[in-house]
């Protein structure tokens, strides 16, 4: 588990923690711990992991903003309210994609915006540097 002490892993986990900051604490800790363990498992398979291997592993795990966004969607199911910060953004995002039915807008609205704004840019394997995620997070819907 040497890889987990890698500086970039630490930075990634801190960024993930920040992006999930306004979500339910208990589940946030659970997800953070699971992802930390996931990265450790991944890097444990590569005892001689280079910096590039570490960066690739973190890219596979994904943009912290994306994970936080999924968390928010999952939390907003079954009547658990999305965070106050997320709500106006969801509204703004749904206006961008036009009128949709009341029942589907919270789930599909921002996702569709994301798909439109991000999919073209990176598809399956985002070429952007992990280090640019913070800027991206600040501009993403949700």
């Amino acid at each position: 588990m040497n890889g987990i002490r890698h500086r970039e892993v630490g930075e990634y986990l801190r960024r993930l923690q920040r992006s999930m900051a306004n979500l339910p604490a208990e589940r946030r800790q659970e997800i953070l711990a699971e992802i930390e363990e996931h990265i450790a498992e991944d890097l444990a398979e590569r005892p001689a992991a280079t910096d590039a291997d570490v960066r690739n592993a973190l890219e596979r795990v994904g943009d912290p903003a994306d994970i936080a966004y999924r968390f928010r969607l999952q939390s907003s199911r079954n009547g658990v309210r999305a965070s106050p910060r997320a709500r106006p953004r969801l509204g703004a995002a749904s206006r961008q994609v036009g009128r949709e039915s009341q029942t589907s807008v919270d789930v599909s609205g921002p996702d569709r915006v994301r798909a439109a704004s991000c999919a073209a840019a990176h598809g399956h394997h985002p070429p952007h540097s992990i280090l640019s995620s913070r800027e991206r997070f600040d501009t993403l819907p949700g």
């Binding site: 997800i31 994970i67 999924r70 439109a116 999919a119 073209a120």
Partner: protein
Amino acid sequence: MVAGQDKLLTQMRRGTLEYCVLALLRDEERYGFDLVRALGTADGMVTSEGTIYPLLSRLRRDGLVSTTWEESPNGPPRRYYRLTPKGHKALGEFVQEWQRFRDAVDRFVEGGEQ
């Protein structure tokens, strides 16, 4: 992959991914990394590995999976996920509906006179 295809895949994945997760847990318990790796063997099923964990957390909260901590041969204990009876039931219902739905779509998209 072009943007339109990516969006299409996103929409299809959204409704089916959780059942793929449940199906992977039908016969055996798995820990998160193992589960993600198994999903990753199918093209297009996982884009960001980390997004599986919010899903797993929600499945647990909904009572479809339960978790136990088990020792790992090297490193800290792992959280293992397994299907609950409620999870088995939800999966069974999905499988039935999916087969009907898939057959219906196939009838149209595979062409020929309908």
